[in-house]
């Protein structure tokens, strides 16, 4: 094997130049003459029965080429349960829900025709909040929930609870009844976060030779292929998905969204059809990080041992289950992570409301579960009178400790990372003086996340000019994985320079199944598949070279574009020559590789309704920040920010640092600025950048970073994904620091100036959740399908 250390370098990304020149063509830039423009007619009410849809006037309008409604796409799709029609069928379940799609010669024509479609509605009562949704006698958003096809078995469901994942390990009742414990009970609430990928969701579809070709801005070409086929009720092989440069994803594009609309219109019109969400549509129907409501109770001894923990996490999935169904799983590994727990019960529920569906966003519910867990931890420490760093040192998960679902963690990682944070703190002086007259606070938080691994495939073709072509279904969404770590892995394996590795962008006709780019999985999963493909290539090369050089294969090494006899530089020949020879004697040199999750065991019976019972590659993070809070206006300024991140091995350290800076800043947006509010009619109020405030250059600080390498990982060359996790504990760190600065109980994010001032003035209503009982058992569906209690 080649030395992993040789793969480490600050290899620059090759797509930067065209991006700087304005030449890169994203999907939105592929809307060229001759391509039809599509527009969606969206509902403007949150809940209604559709009495009549009449497209006859719209059909006759100028430029109109096709109009599609529910009858053209009858299939239901979803994750876990198929509850989601492409178009509202008989019922409208959220403001913004598509009712019809129009393709016309121009966008104005398409919009005009969409507006001319007659829709007769009868409004029915809407449930906007989760409290309303779970109230006794609440209207059912999916009265037919029992009839839906269940795609993944094993979860409790019922009424407005789309999905429930439960964890039960040990006897929490006994733990809470112990005489030597204090019980700390906390409630938290967070709003939604919009990804604001700069390129909106966008697609150009065509229908040729009986197959759909979908060019789309996505992170998941295979999901788009399979979902589109399901919705259009055609074989999946009839859909080809290719992906141009993607202008940001962050999880928004981790689901099929606009593609089937464009596909059905392309099929109907026989033309290429583009569909691009306007920014307003992106604001109103973004598959946001969901709003959530959380209750955590812990039984803790005076020495700080957590003998029991119970938590209920309500995740608003909006009108359809979507990713939230899957993400209920992650409560076990985030809110149930970080600390050693004597016993634990968790209920993680996706709750239907008449609001826009939510989705996956960088570190997903880990971000707010970590906020809740770390604030709760501070409340425990305050109750015990214990230093919170000391508490964390004693309680963080270490080697052979059990996770919530009973998985056994390998290696001491969080403990040493806390020490590294202490060292980082020593190195850089406190910024306290910069707070001036403002309130100063500091906090250190820990977080647990994971690498979402699963099926990936790769093919490597070695070319006669000594270059290699890597064919995978990966897409470059901006993080640089396809431009940096993958070519570095292949080059290291084959003794090439990374610039000689061509990485083909995703084309489902050319490459095999892949779960997509997200969850920090690309370097690990596609990287592992690529490594496996390279092994086959190596073997072929060495066998040919062995003959050419009259040396046994095991005495040959691949390095610097050459195959040398080990220890004798210049003794061999170039890889190009070997490839040329191989082409004559055995045909072109290629290899293929595959990878999937090995599956770490959990403790039997501990987890129910989970998609992942135990995490294959845990990732840990320690964050620390200093803040200044203006007591007069509630403005929070982050004075300094430090990160120690578990990265396994940083293949491209500079790129990892970039991911951390960018991820932390997105987290600052979540913690301080970015607010999504939903009005009484279920409409998201922030319709653009005037009211949805993203962090600007002046609002951020350079993040001080220490990369923690060497923690166990099954990733190729010991890697872990580094791009997703930087956002994980930002909300937590800032909230804890603000709480420390103000002496107030921070229970909500984002900490906008009005919310902080209200906190300082004790103006906030107490966070009482009538719909989350302090008795944990009341917060689950009693069907018998949950973790063994």
């Amino acid at each position: 094997m080649s030395d992993p250390a040789n793969a480490v370098m600050n290899f620059p990304r090759r797509d930067a130049r065209d991006k700087l020149l304005g030449r890169t063509r994203y999907t939105i830039d592929h809307v060229r003459p001759g391509v039809l423009h599509a527009a969606l007619l969206r509902s403007e009410v949150p809940s209604a029965r559709i009495l009549r849809i009449d497209t006859s006037i719209a059909r006759k309008m100028p430029g109109v080429r096709a109009i599609a409604t529910a009858e053209h796409a009858p299939g239901l799709h979803g994750i876990g349960i198929a509850d989601h029609p492409l178009f509202a069928q008989d019922v409208i379940r959220y403001d913004g829900e598509p009712i019809a799609a129009v393709a016309a010669d121009t966008l104005e024509q398409a919009r005009a025709a969409a507006a001319a479609i007659v829709v007769e509605l009868e409004e029915i009562p809407a449930v906007i909040s989760m409290a309303e949704s779970l109230a006794p006698g609440a209207p059912q958003i999916h009265p037919d929930w029992k009839k839906y096809e269940v795609l993944v078995e094993g979860a409790a469901r019922g009424g407005n609870v789309a999905w429930e994942a439960t964890v039960a390990r040990g006897d929490t009742d006994a733990a809470f009844a112990r005489p030597d414990v204090q019980i700390i009970d906390s409630t938290y609430r967070v709003g939604r976060q919009n990804h604001v990928s700069f390129e909106p969701r966008a697609v150009v579809a065509s229908f040729e030779d009986g197959r759909y070709h979908i060019q789309t801005s996505t992170q998941v070409p295979w999901t788009v292929r399979n979902m589109t086929a399901r919705i259009l009720q055609v074989p999946a092989s009839h859909v080809r998905v290719t992906v141009p440069a993607v202008g940001g994803g962050f999880g928004l594009k981790f689901d099929c969204s606009l593609e089937p609309y464009a596909a059905v219109l392309a099929q109907m019109s026989g033309r290429s059809v583009s569909l691009v969400n306007s920014r307003q549509e992106e604001m109103l129907t973004c598959l946001c990080r969901e709003n959530a409501e959380i209750r955590i109770r812990s039984a803790v001894t005076k020495d700080g041992e957590i003998v029991g923990r119970e938590a209920t996490v309500l995740m608003d999935c909006g009108a359809y289950g979507g990713e939230q169904i899957f993400l209920t799983t992650m409560t076990a590994h985030t809110l149930g992570g970080n600390y050693k727990l004597g016993s634990v019960r968790l209920s993680s529920r996706a709750v239907y409301t008449n609001t826009a569906p939510n989705g996956a966003f960088r570190a997903c519910n880990g971000v707010y579960n970590t906020f809740a867990l770390e604030r709760h931890t501070e409340e425990i420490c305050a109750a015990l009178g214990m230093d919170s760093l000391e508490f964390r040192r004693r309680n963080v998960l270490g080697d052979k400790d059990l996770g919530a679902t009973g998985q056994v963690f390998e290696g001491n990682v969080l403990g040493p990372m806390l020490e590294r944070m202490a060292a980082l703190r020593e190195k850089s002086p406190s910024r306290k003086t910069e707070a001036g007259d403002r309130l100063y606070g500091r906090a250190t938080t820990v977080g647990t996340w994971f690498i979402f691994i699963g099926p990936s495939s790769a093919t490597v073709n070695l070319n006669a000019d000594g270059s290699a072509t890597l064919v995978t279904s990966g897409v470059e969404i901006g993080s640089g994985t396809m431009m940096q770590s993958l070519p570095q892995i292949v080059a290291n394996s084959l003794g090439l320079r990374p610039q000689d590795v061509i990485v083909k962008t995703a084309d489902t006709d050319a490459s095999g199944l892949d779960l997509g780019v997200g969850g920090g999985r690309t370097t690990v999963s596609i990287g592992a598949a690529s490594s496996a493909a390279c092994e086959e290539v190596r073997k072929k090369l060495l066998s040919v070279a062995s003959e050419m050089l009259q040396t046994k294969p095991e005495k040959l090494v691949l390095t610097g574009g050459r195959i040398e006899i080990a220890g004798i530089k210049g003794s061999g020949t170039t890889i190009a020559k070997v490839v040329e020879r191989a082409q004559q004697v055995m045909g072109p040199v290629s290899g293929s590789g595959a990878f999937t999750a090995p599956g770490v065991p959990s403790m039997p019976g501990c987890a129910a309704g989970h998609f992942i019972d135990a995490i294959d590659i845990p990732v840990f993070a320690v964050h620390e920040c200093e803040v200044a809070v203006d007591p007069d206006t509630g403005h929070v300024e982050v004075l300094s920010y430090k990160v120690v991140q578990d990265v396994g091995r940083a293949l491209n350290p500079r790129a990892v640092l970039s991911q951390i800076q960018g991820g932390v800043v997105q987290g600052m947006g979540y913690a301080l600025h970015e607010e999504v509010s939903i009005d009484a009619h279920g409409r998201i109020e922030q319709s653009g950048f005037e009211t949805y405030r993203l962090p600007l250059a002046l609002d951020v600080v350079p993040v001080e970073i220490d990369l923690y390498e060497g923690a166990p990982s099954i990733g190729p060359l010991g890697t872990k994904g580094a791009g997703e996790v930087p956002i994980l504990n930002v909300g937590a760190a800032i909230a804890c620091a603000v709480s420390n600065a103000t002496g107030k109980r921070v229970q909500e994010l984002p900490l906008t100036p009005p919310r902080v001032l209200a906190l300082l003035l004790d103006r906030n209503e107490p966070l009482d959740f009538p719909h989350i009982s302090p008795t944990w058992h009341d917060n689950i569906i009693h069907t018998g399908i949950h973790a063994s209690l």
Partner: protein, 156 residues
């Protein structure tokens, strides 16, 4: 009556309605897709162009008001395909991620550096109040530009 404007040194005419955003004419008629329509309300800066030497948001500029204007887009910043020193610095420091904001960043910063060749970190951040980046967290962009402006006069 067509509206004529000089785009990247070349006289161009458009039949677009005069209240059409200049951005849409550049992208859809002239296929200059470097400028991006991201927010369409003057907050993100991704559509920034130079109009008669001034950095402007092309989403908020009716093409009718660009009659006779000299418009420079990001496509014309690299003379003969050679990156400008600013573009080179951004490439050298490997700060680009998804890239959607960079055309606007390049246009804003190019103009800013013409007027302030040696800005402080804070001045640069203030100048970027109308350029949003969702990927990078800004600081490394600033580092790259400061490395350029603080460099001893680079060799020609």
């Amino acid at each position: 009556m067509p509206i004529t404007l000089i785009v990247n040194g070349e006289e161009r005419a458009t039949q677009a309605a005069p209240m059409t955003p200049l951005l849409d004419v550049l992208r859809e008629e002239f296929f200059l897709t470097g400028a991006k329509a991201v927010c369409r309300e003057g907050f993100c800066g991704a559509c920034t162009v130079h109009a008669d030497g001034i950095a402007r948001m092309s989403c908020l500029m009716p093409v009718g008001l660009a009659q006779g204007c000299a418009i420079t887009t990001v496509e014309a910043i690299a003379a003969d395909g050679v990156l400008s020193p600013l573009q080179q610095a951004l490439e050298d420091h490997d700060v680009v991620q998804c890239g959607m904001c960079f055309p606007g960043m390049v246009m804003s910063l190019t103009k800013f550096l013409e007027q302030n060749a040696h800005p402080s970190r804070d001045e640069m951040k203030t100048a970027l109040a109308g350029n949003i980046c969702r990927c990078t967290g800004y600081e490394r962009i600033i580092d790259a530009v400061l490395a350029l402006t603080n460099a001893p006069q680079a060799a020609e």
